[in-house]
Symmetry: C2
Subunit: 342 residues, 2 copies
Amino acid sequence: MTRIALDAMGGDHAPAATIAGALLALQELPAGHVIQLVGRPEVIRAELDAQTANATAVASDVGSRVEIVEAGEVIEMSDKPSVAIRGKPNSSMAIGLRLQAEGKSDAFVSAGNTGAQMAASAFILRLHAGLNRPAIATLFPTARVPVVVLDSGANVDCSADELAQFARLGAVYAEDILGRSNPAVALLSIGEEPEKGNATVKDAHQALATAPGINFIGNVEGRDIPMGTCDRGPVDVVVCDGFVGNVLLKFYEAVPKLIIGLLARAGIPREKLAGAFEGLDYAAHGGAPLLGVKGVSIICHGKSSPEAIKNGIWVGLRAAESRMSDHIGQRLATHSDEGPRA
Amino acid sequence: MTRIALDAMGGDHAPAATIAGALLALQELPAGHVIQLVGRPEVIRAELDAQTANATAVASDVGSRVEIVEAGEVIEMSDKPSVAIRGKPNSSMAIGLRLQAEGKSDAFVSAGNTGAQMAASAFILRLHAGLNRPAIATLFPTARVPVVVLDSGANVDCSADELAQFARLGAVYAEDILGRSNPAVALLSIGEEPEKGNATVKDAHQALATAPGINFIGNVEGRDIPMGTCDRGPVDVVVCDGFVGNVLLKFYEAVPKLIIGLLARAGIPREKLAGAFEGLDYAAHGGAPLLGVKGVSIICHGKSSPEAIKNGIWVGLRAAESRMSDHIGQRLATHSDEGPRA
């Protein structure tokens, strides 16, 4: 049995979207798994009642597979990250994560304030030894299968060592959640040659080129991400700092909107296009794991739809069942003495 | 009369594509302008003869509007940038630029080795006072009108001062070449707030916020580029370092390929799509000026088609006629004592 704590109060459309997402997930999740809805009980109860009354297809055993966990405070989207740690100790975020730290839950999923979730996750779950900060791993749709891009926003100023750490985190994610064996890990740069890139990227290339336990395939360029492949073969993981990753992520999110506009002008009706771009929809991929914490913390987009929340819950389940966090700890421990930092 | 020197030997498809591009340009350019084809005379002559013999529509006065300028050496795509300065003093690139330095030409256009062109342009044309390095300004297609993104690859490690200089260079380009009055200049970051971004971007924001003579509208995010607008209105210029700009540029180039693949899978025939994506075609926008040099040096994509070369020639003509380089010099001189560097 896996227990997934969902921040019922987190996100632009909470609690309607979070509760709806939980109900969608219950229809798909194998029996025995439990969703822990964390937040204000009266709000959650009212939303659950309203949605189960209206729904045409609600799992019949909702009652036995949903737990409500009381949390009296809510972190607002505008709150500073530190609020999650000190200002509101009884927020749905803090309580959801504390459940896991106390062994009463297996994964935490939230569409709330990302900065607060990162801070609270690192503080409450703690980081694996040898890591400075956690990283956000996002799936980018490609012409092939999705590529893991990290960091996509947790760390804007990164050292070469940190980029090399991200490579290990991303490799475990690709193995455990995406099922890629011996995933190909690449470093994002502005040319394939090791001497291309800014100072940090060039140093990270040197570190990764000699790092054990990583299938490092060298540098890739921006164009290789939408293709999911480079001239040395398929790419599974792309490593970059959180500034570049976040700029790319948001850039990519806006592209379908632009393309649909262009095609509509060219006389191709919008309805015909919606289906084609489903693969580019972030909701289809759900949450992005915060990698490096001892446990599972899944970050969903603030604008998450019920479908996106449901997918975030699935990512949390897979991360917990595959023991991704343990594997990251093992991977870091195994190579900490022989790695580039030496 | 404007004289445009074209590096006849530069680019993956030279000299066929460069000569074809020059002939296309001659059909459109107002009478009196001259194209100087720089390279090996026998190669240029043979290509010109072959193409004018086959062409159905060649300007009747080609002979009087084309000059062949001898250059015995060719810079290869694999040559180091320094080769352009020391190793091959008689390359088509060095000679084309020297013509301009000697007052015998008004603009230089090349699809050859970009690193070599940057080095040779800075060495031969020299930089305006107060600049450390030139920047490449690229047009990104958007849902609105194109946005100028700079630097898009000349400088991978930038200081905050350099980012602030790019803002001035980009503003003059938007005014002179794109005809935008009082162009809106934005800084690329990962959030709108001044305190978002990496250390350099945060410092650049502070410098730009108090800089005179610039319509600085604050930070934009990745998503604002494909839209060409942010919640504070239209965006004309986006400033970033050359690492981020180059990653984005190459990422964007690959997107139409991905999208056409997705749509074809959804049953929308490729032929119907080609027209819709014309606006995303780099060839439609032609060359990217190397800003900051005293003169005009236009960088075309190595894979440039004749259409792209023709458009590069047009950009060179507009830059020369608008006296863009003089305006950049004036703008830098006017604000050098009151600007952020103080």
